[in-house]
């Protein structure tokens, strides 16, 4: 029997719409990604507040302190306690002194976990005050409408 051989046609899918979509997605994620504002810390869940609005301009000399639930203080990747924090702060001040800035120019931004004991946060503030820091910022995240204190 003779089999009639069909034309060996390669079925090619039209890739254009898929590539369009994929490029759209890439563009979307590229626009939304921001590497700059990664000040966050995995162990810190900020409390929320309705009155929060992002600062108009970035601080000139920010010192970000992350305080976790067990009252460990992270400053620049190293961990301290409220008692040993002065050492880390002095290093920051040494860096700032090279740019003719003192403790009164600094903004100490406190990113404390929402369940941290308030007393621990106050101890950290005390430690900063002992080194003549004056400006503090208690960081909170914007309240998106969920119920809870704040």
């Amino acid at each position: 029997m003779r089999v009639k051989k069909e034309n060996a046609e390669i079925a090619e899918a039209d890739l254009t719409p898929m590539i369009d979509m994929v490029f759209q997605l890439i563009a979307f994620f590229m626009v939304l990604i921001n590497f700059a504002q990664t000040e966050s810390h995995d162990e810190v869940k900020l409390p929320s507040s309705q009155l929060i609005k992002p600062p108009d301009q970035p601080f000139e000399f920010p010192i970000v302190l992350h305080i976790t639930q067990d009252a460990t203080v992270y400053l620049g990747g190293k961990d301290y306690t409220a008692e040993t924090l002065a050492r880390g702060l002095k290093m920051e001040l040494a860096v700032a002194a090279a740019q003719q800035m003192g403790p009164s120019d600094a903004n100490v931004i406190i990113r404390a976990h929402r369940n941290t004991a308030a007393g621990e946060v106050q101890e950290v503030i005390r430690a900063c005050q002992a080194l003549d820091f004056v400006n503090f910022g208690l960081r909170a995240k914007e309240d998106l409408g969920q119920k809870g204190p704040g």
Binding site: F29, A118, G119, I125, R126, G137, L138, P149
Partner: protein, 159 residues
């Protein structure tokens, strides 16, 4: 003139496969590094060490005292504002502050307006402190923020 050597109309086809590979890699990279950004902001507090600066300047200008008490788990049990018992209701706190502050100059006044001193139990959870600061420092009127008190300080921590 007739052109003899007409070239074959060869269709040059781009190989899509490698491009799609790369594009998918990019896409996966961006998806994995994507994190929804939560807006963050600060409550600015100017707080020199007590007694170091001009504390004698305004002896008569006594701050409003907010006392916050906590149970052993760190939950708020009671708030008192200048000995007025507020329970645990933050809206009452805001109302009372509005009454107290209403007849004084606002935060735009020269001396910065009234001052609130927050005195908390040591183990009170920090989110309650932020909630209290929120309700003391203002309220949201639509999209506008109405300021009440801008000067906030902490009493000495209780161990």
């Amino acid at each position: 003139m007739k052109i003899r050597n007409k070239e074959d109309a060869t269709k040059t086809e781009l190989s899509m496969t490698s491009m799609i590979d790369v594009v998918f890699l990019l896409l996966i990279f961006f998806i994995l590094t994507f994190k929804i950004v939560e807006l963050e902001g600060d409550f600015g507090i100017k707080m020199p060490l007590a007694g170091s600066s001009a504390s004698t300047m305004d002896d008569f200008d006594v701050p409003i005292k907010l006392r916050m008490e906590a149970d052993t788990d760190g939950n708020l049990t009671r708030m008192r504002l200048n000995e007025i018992d507020l329970g645990t209701n933050f809206d009452t706190l805001r109302g009372t502050i509005t009454q107290l502050v209403g007849n004084q100059a606002g935060p735009d006044a020269e001396d910065g307006g009234p001052e609130v001193e927050i005195d908390t139990d040591f183990n009170l959870r920090y989110e309650y402190v932020i909630a209290a600061i929120t309700h003391v420092s203002g309220r949201k009127d639509g999209d506008q923020i109405v300021k009440l008190v801008e000067k906030i300080k902490f009493a000495a921590p209780r161990r």
